[in-house]
């Protein structure tokens, strides 16, 4: 039996979204299918900021955010097959599903209509899910990922949402040798798309608004770096040339969406993993005509994909560009992330226990 405490840095009021205070909270009632983890690291995701500021709608407070969690297993339920005490393991943005629907049975648990989020959600018994800016967490084995030997915890952490969220659409849409893949927005998610896209063998085109990221993006391995303008002039030379575009753009205003679509080859997909608060720019059916392209989004990824991604990262020595801070500096992290002042992901080191 573990004697793990459950304490975390919480926001109590969205009007004071950068004012964290330590709270104790009641964890999920431990089940035979659960794994309990003592947290060592937690990444800071754009979702954390969207949620605590109320940008994505109302959330239950007090709220401990954080869903890029890595730590050491302290307890496993009797039905758990894949973990033992002492293993390094992680949890991402999803912590529950129904386990029995068509989605859950086809490695699409990330699309289960009864999906439970790692924070700001409720379990069927009414307990609120609290996230990873904390000492410990419990999750169903389905949503706990083993961290490979030669992948450091601080590197793995932000792969569990940021990495997986782009890895899944990359693989589901065939990113690989011979394919040309565009990434819009080179921030936390975008930089992962470059790193994983290259590792999968694709030719990567990075689209960025900021000239001052060009050097970094080249170092990440992008084959081409295109500086974009809101009028879309950049797209003209690339008409119908990309097989897939992953967009991490978080702001809808001024987005040259029609021009992005025009860069896709026939039946190419534009997948926006960026989830702006506001509606997308208005489109007409004609915008899809010249190339029969598709517009969609993507929700995290499956466990199968998470495990595959972590193994790829371990095998290829993929290191994300992170800035580490102690968890007590969560305030600084979310404030800087809100102003895009991070290269390219914050990872908080647990400092409460």
């Amino acid at each position: 039996m573990s004697s793990v405490e459950f304490k975390g840095y919480a926001i109590s009021d969205p009007k004071k979204w950068n004012d964290f205070s330590v709270i104790e909270f009641k964890p999920k009632a431990f089940q035979d299918t659960d794994v309990e983890i003592a947290i060592t690291h937690c990444g800071v995701c754009g979702s954390d900021v969207h949620t605590i500021t109320g940008g994505w709608g109302e959330a239950p407070f007090p709220l401990v955010p954080g869903h890029e969690i890595v730590g050491k297993v302290t307890r496993v339920g009797s039905e758990v097959k894949g973990f033992k005490v002492g293993d390094r393991a992680g949890i991402g943005a999803q912590i529950g599903s129904c386990y029995s629907c068509r989605a859950c049975k086809s490695d699409n648990e990330n699309y289960c209509s009864k999906s439970i989020n790692t924070y700001a959600s409720k379990y069927p018994d009414g307990i609120s899910t609290q996230g990873g800016y904390s000492t410990a967490i419990r999750g169903h084995e389905q949503f706990v990922f083993p961290i490979p030997e030669n992948l450091e915890s601080r590197h793995a952490a932000s792969m569990l949402c940021g990495g997986l969220t782009v890895y899944s659409p990359l693989v589901r849409n065939g990113a690989g040798p011979g394919k040309k893949v565009g990434v819009v927005g080179i921030g936390g998610l975008g930089h992962y798309a470059i790193l994983f896209g290259k590792a999968l063998g694709a030719e990567m085109y990075a689209f960025t608004h900021s000239k001052d990221k060009i050097e970094d993006i080249k170092k990440m391995g992008a084959d081409h770096v295109v500086v974009t303008d809101d009028e879309g002039e950049f797209a003209k030379d690339l008409a119908m040339s990309l097989d897939l575009i992953i967009s991490t753009r978080d702001v809808a205003e001024g987005m040259p969406l029609q021009q992005y679509l025009s860069m896709l080859w026939i039946h190419g997909h534009f997948v926006t993993v960026g989830l702006p608060d506001k509606p997308l720019p208005q489109l007409s059916a004609f915008d899809f005509c010249p190339n029969g392209c598709y517009l969609g989004s993507s929700a995290i990824g499956s466990k199968k994909e998470a495990v595959e991604m972590l193994q790829l990262a371990a095998d290829r020595g993929i290191k994300p560009w992170i800035e580490e801070l102690p968890m007590k500096d969560a305030k600084q992290a979310v404030e800087r992330l809100k102003r895009n002042d991070v290269k390219y992901r914050f990872v908080l080191t647990q400092d409460l226990a």
Binding site: S106, H269, L280, F288, P290, G292, L295, G296
Partner: protein
């Protein structure tokens, strides 16, 4: 040398879009790759109405519309092996492409950036392409389709745009046994989608605004009919059930797109084949979090056209058409604009009639 005249019913004043006047005009300059045909029938497409009402932009006049054409070959160029004089053939909404780009070489000629539309377009030598509300037309053989023996020309006509426009996405998205396919909007295109999807073996869900078309839709073979008007929860029972939705609706603004997307299984496609004048409804990235995709489609390629026509011939697919003499084009386009047609008009060429089935 053929004696074919090129005369057609044209819009001569863009403000009077239901008034067609007979004109003579210069056809495409005949070349070795061309097929010339006398026109027997031409279907009336929504595109014709969007064009002449200038919903899709200003038009030059005089303009002969019509791109659902069937008839009989009168002349073939020296390089043409596929056809001979007397053959029954058709021409659809595309009449040219560049023949050499990646799209053209990969059976994607319907996405060639240099494509030429059957009407309201210019050939590289400057000749203006006039459409099928006329006596005859010339087209590159790539865009001429043989009509199977046991498929009457009046049925084949409207398959060449409407039919192909829905057949291509159905085929490309695996419509067949075991698949659940939704069709939104049961008009000209929608009724073809229904007929073809059934013929391909899928389970078909027809979405229609009111009860008005219920009996027809049942007769067309839909497995399920969902009335969407005054039924805000229409999508709930079908959450994540459908593999594909083909949307033939000709509207934009009020369309509950989010509800339609919610009915798609993971990574299912909602394919718009209608091209409304107005923009699409407002969308948020969140609306796509079920993993569904929104897309469009543009006609189909020749391979698909031939496969479709053969399927129609083999399964005896009969579209629901209303035949009219070509001189009544004005009445036909007005009724299409009003949605008053069950479910496609086909004009019988009456300027210099030919006797062929």
């Amino acid at each position: 040398m053929s004696q074919v005249e090129f005369k057609g019913y044209a819009i001569t004043d863009a403000n009077l879009w239901t008034q067609f006047n007979l004109i003579e005009y210069q056809p495409k300059t005949f070349d070795d790759n061309d097929v010339e045909l006398r026109i027997a029938y031409c279907g009336v497409c929504g595109s014709d109405v969007h064009t002449i009402t200038q919903g899709w932009g200003q038009i030059p006049t005089p303009l002969v519309v019509g791109h659902e054409i069937t008839g009989q070959v009168t002349r073939v160029g020296a390089n043409v092996k596929e056809f001979k004089v007397g053959d029954r053939v058709g021409v659809g909404a595309q009449i040219g492409s560049c023949y050499k780009c990646r799209a053209c070489k990969e059976d994607q000629e319907n996405y060639c950036p240099s494509m030429i539309d059957t009407y309201n377009a210019h050939y590289p030598d400057g000749v203006f392409a006039q459409g099928g509300y006329s006596t005859a037309i010339r087209a590159n053989q790539q865009f001429v389709f043989a009509i199977p023996e046991n498929l009457p020309l009046r049925y084949a006509a409207s398959m060449l745009c409407a039919g192909l426009t829905v057949f291509s996405p159905l085929k490309r998205h695996g419509c067949g046994p075991g698949k659940k396919v939704g069709i939104v909007g049961i008009g000209g295109l929608g009724h073809y989608a229904l007929l073809f999807a059934k013929a391909m073996g899928a389970e078909v869900y027809a979405f229609t605004h009111s009860n008005r078309k219920m009996d027809d839709i049942k007769k067309m073979g839909a497995d399920h009919i969902i009335v969407t008007g005054n039924n805000p929860d229409f999508a709930k029972p079908l959450q994540m059930q459908l593999d594909l939705i083909v949307c033939a609706l000709d509207v934009g603004k009020g369309m509950p797109l989010k509800d339609y997307l919610s009915m798609l299984w993971v990574h299912g496609k909602f394919v718009m084949v209608g091209l409304p004048d107005e923009p699409l409804p407002e969308m948020k990235a969140f609306d796509f979090l079920t993993g569904a995709f929104l897309g469009g489609s543009h006609i189909g390629n020749k391979k698909e056209a031939l496969e479709m026509l053969q399927l129609a011939a083999d399964k005896g697919i009969k579209p629901w058409i209303e035949e009219m003499p070509m001189s009544k084009a004005g009445e036909a386009v007005q009724r299409v604009k009003n949605g008053d047609v069950r479910y496609r008009f086909v004009l019988k060429q009456d300027i210099s009639p030919i006797d062929i089935d």
